[in-house]
Amino acid sequence: MNSNTKHTLVALVEDKPGVLNRVASLFRRRGFNIQSLAVGSSEQPGLSRMTIVVADDSTVVEQVRKQLDKLINVVKVSDITDEDTVARELALIKVKATASTRSEIIQIVDVFRANIVDVALDSLTVEVTGDEDKVESLIKLLRGFGIKEISRTGRIALTRGA
């Protein structure tokens, strides 16, 4: 891997109080840079799956992986960057909309197979799912209309098949 590419780490962690804090504390104390961290329940009761995106060179990321693995509440952690994966992110984008821009925004949203999930007098809220590039491009296009708020989940990922 060349240096400073984005690495995706997936960790199965025990679903116990304080576990997120342990992971976050580890990143802070060792000076590792997290780009995003997403966590939610997994297929196994009592275990959550965390997807962590780290942009650093491979030796640092390997150090991150090993340090995470040392946490007692982390059951398994793997770097799936070089594997065949499905990765998605969800973003909610609240964009300014006037009578004259509304239909143009809706067209763009359609092209991206995104959804309008809330309509207000002077704004639309768009929901988009996809890889980061797709989310980024949509945001870029909507910028022109004036973005009021963005909330992104960060990447979640699974390896393909098997």
Binding site: Q63, K66, Q67, K70, L71, I72, V74, V75, K76
Partner: protein
């Protein structure tokens, strides 16, 4: 049968083989203390400061190889343990810290003496627990001891709210732990071991760096076999000093910032470094950029995260040092490395450590700290456990005592915690009452935990205390002298008469000012059947050499300036 949380804790500690607990009580641990009389097998030692409890438990753990246990009340008591826990964490010492916590309904309310000790100790423990149910307590203790004592040893903290101590639950001590997220590898990978053996068999200038992992794993015999079979010279880290006999011909002594010149030269010239149970600490490697520039590196350690952390390894082997060395020794061929060894002998001859006898002779009547350390060695013949402070006293103790006995050197290596010496020596003596235990203290560090003289007297713990009294925060003064234009800003100490202090604690002592008084004083201390204090008023501006200046590589080792005295003006 139902028992209270406090009883469950005591029963569980007994199941784990605990005999001694160091601590101080307070509101949030009163229920635990109140049950102690029901369990006379548990000896509680009342210390004078919780930092002392943690260091004592740490010293106990290092000397015995078993987990050491300390206990403190919530809030300030728990917070006072923190330095001791951090210290044990850095040196991979198995410590169990038990803290009281405010009762469950008060947690998070900033109640009286509430401190988030699990939050505070997150980065300095291998794991920690806040127990919220008495029924979980036995399982928690079982796990805590297992985690603390297996793999890479480390502190584990158990925080127990006061009402959990009083709550009743069924007591069943589990015989197994169920920790799906905890694993450690004991056996080294056979293919890696084969690669390492091949590299060793092919090397012409190999050197071993021995670390504390050898002591933890008790791999003394395996290490000796490797050294002797393949005739590989050995250097050690500070905490690896007592992993291999100090008087062995192939032992070149400590490497690093205050290592011997010839140890550092060996590493810089080696074509193969075999790093065993060590973590390439910056005090050992100096600047890693210039570290062992010609060498391939074999790195054996039980903690995979140590591999490639500071120095990249060519051949990493993750596993228990003893197990790995056993397997490795099978594949090592006999060698003599005559050229390499004679080169090293020449360096040893040309660049010796200053001989304390000679140095003292040249410098007449001055009482030199190196000489004091050497006389303690002569008197004990190495049959003692040496527990040091931090700073110059620590380095002189490392350089001038000859450690011939496994695990006979205990010191705050990673954290460099002044004040470790006295309570840790006390803990070591409690754990090994048959051993002669010497506390080599700095006059600065000694005053950080001096109050443990009270504990020592109360328990009649027969530690022998040697204060290397230079009237300075000596190591810092040395840096000021060498790197800050001799500006001694706030390193000079006004000291009390330590002998009088000892007397106030009903501990006898002698103040030593002259060379000829050293031997009789040491003999007197050793003959006395209890704790004894020697206050050595040594040459105030003596420096520790050799020294690698901060930021430089091992190649820049400064040796003793010609005629030591000249440097001191």
């Amino acid at each position: 049968m139902k028992k209270t949380g406090a009883q469950i804790l005591c029963e569980s500690l007994i199941r784990e083989g605990v005999e001694v607990i160091f601590g101080i009580l307070g509101g949030a641990v009163l229920p635990i203390y109140d049950t102690f009389p029901q369990y006379p097998q548990l000896r509680h030692i009342l210390v004078r400061h919780e930092q002392g409890a943690a260091h004592a438990a740490d010293g106990y753990a290092r000397a015995t190889g078993k987990a050491g246990v300390c206990i403190a009340t919530s809030g300030p008591g728990a917070a006072n343990l923190v330095t001791g826990i951090a210290n044990a964490y850095m040196d991979s010492s198995p410590l169990i810290a038990i803290t009281g916590q405010v009762a469950r309904p008060f947690i998070g309310k900033d109640a009286f003496q509430e401190a988030d000790i699990t939050g505070i100790t997150l980065p300095i423990t291998k794991h920690n627990y806040l127990v919220t149910d008495a029924a979980e307590l036995a399982k928690t203790v079982k796990e805590a001891f297992y985690i603390a004592q297996t793999g890479r040893p480390s502190p584990v903290l158990i925080d127990i709210p006061r009402d959990v101590q009083q709550e009743e639950a069924e007591f069943v001590y589990p015989d197994k732990v169920d920790l799906p997220g905890y694993k450690f590898i004991s056996q080294g990978h056979p293919a890696q071991i084969r690669r390492a053996a091949k590299a060793i068999n092919e090397a012409s200038q190999p050197v071993i760096i021995a670390g504390r992992g050898i002591v933890i794993s008790q791999a003394y015999d395996e290490l000796k076999e490797l050294v002797e079979k393949a005739q590989i010279p050995l250097v050690s880290t500070l905490l690896g000093i007592a992993s291999f006999p100090g008087n062995h011909i192939l032992n070149l002594g400590m490497l690093g910032m205050h290592g011997t010149a010839y140890a550092n030269m060996a590493v810089q010239d080696a074509d193969l470094v075999i790093a065993i149970g060590m973590r390439f600490d910056d005090r050992a490697t100096a600047n890693t950029k210039g570290f062992a520039p010609h060498a391939r590196i074999i790195h054996i350690d039980i903690d995979p995260a140590e591999i490639d952390k500071n120095v990249p390894a060519d051949i990493p082997i993750v596993g228990d040092v003893k197990t790995v060395l056993k397997a490795l020794n099978q594949e090592i061929e006999s060698r003599d490395h005559l050229d390499w060894l004679s080169q090293l002998e020449q360096w040893r001859y040309e660049h010796p450590l200053p001989d304390p006898e000679l140095v003292s002779g040249e410098r007449g009547d001055e009482l030199l700290p190196q000489y004091v350390i050497r006389q303690i060695y002569e008197a004990t013949q190495g049959d003692a456990i040496i527990v040091t402070g931090v700073g110059q006293n620590q380095m002189w103790a490392a350089q001038h005592f000859i450690y011939t006995k496994p695990n006979s050197f205990i010191s705050a290596g990673g954290l460099g915690t002044m004040g470790f010496e006295l309570p840790a020596a006390m803990g070591a003596k409690v754990g090994c009452p048959e051993e002669m235990v010497w506390c080599i203290a700095g006059d600065g560090g000694f005053q950080m935990t001096i109050q443990e003289l009270g504990t020592i007297r109360q328990e009649n713990t027969a530690v022998k205390i040697a204060i290397i009294n230079n009237g300075y925060l000596g190591m810092v003064r040395q840096w000021q002298e060498l790197f800050y234009g001799r500006r001694y800003v706030d390193t000079k100490l006004w000291n009390p008469d330590f002998v009088k202090i000892a007397e106030a604690y009903d501990i006898p002592g002698i103040r030593v000012k002259h060379r000829e008084e050293v031997v009789p004083a040491v003999d007197k201390a050793m003959d006395y059947p209890g704790p004894f204090l020697l206050d050595f008023l040594v040459e105030p501006e003596e420096n520790v050499f050799p020294m690698v200046p901060p930021g430089e590589s091992l190649a820049k080792t400064l040796e003793v300036p010609k005629g030591l005295a000249s440097l001191n003006g």
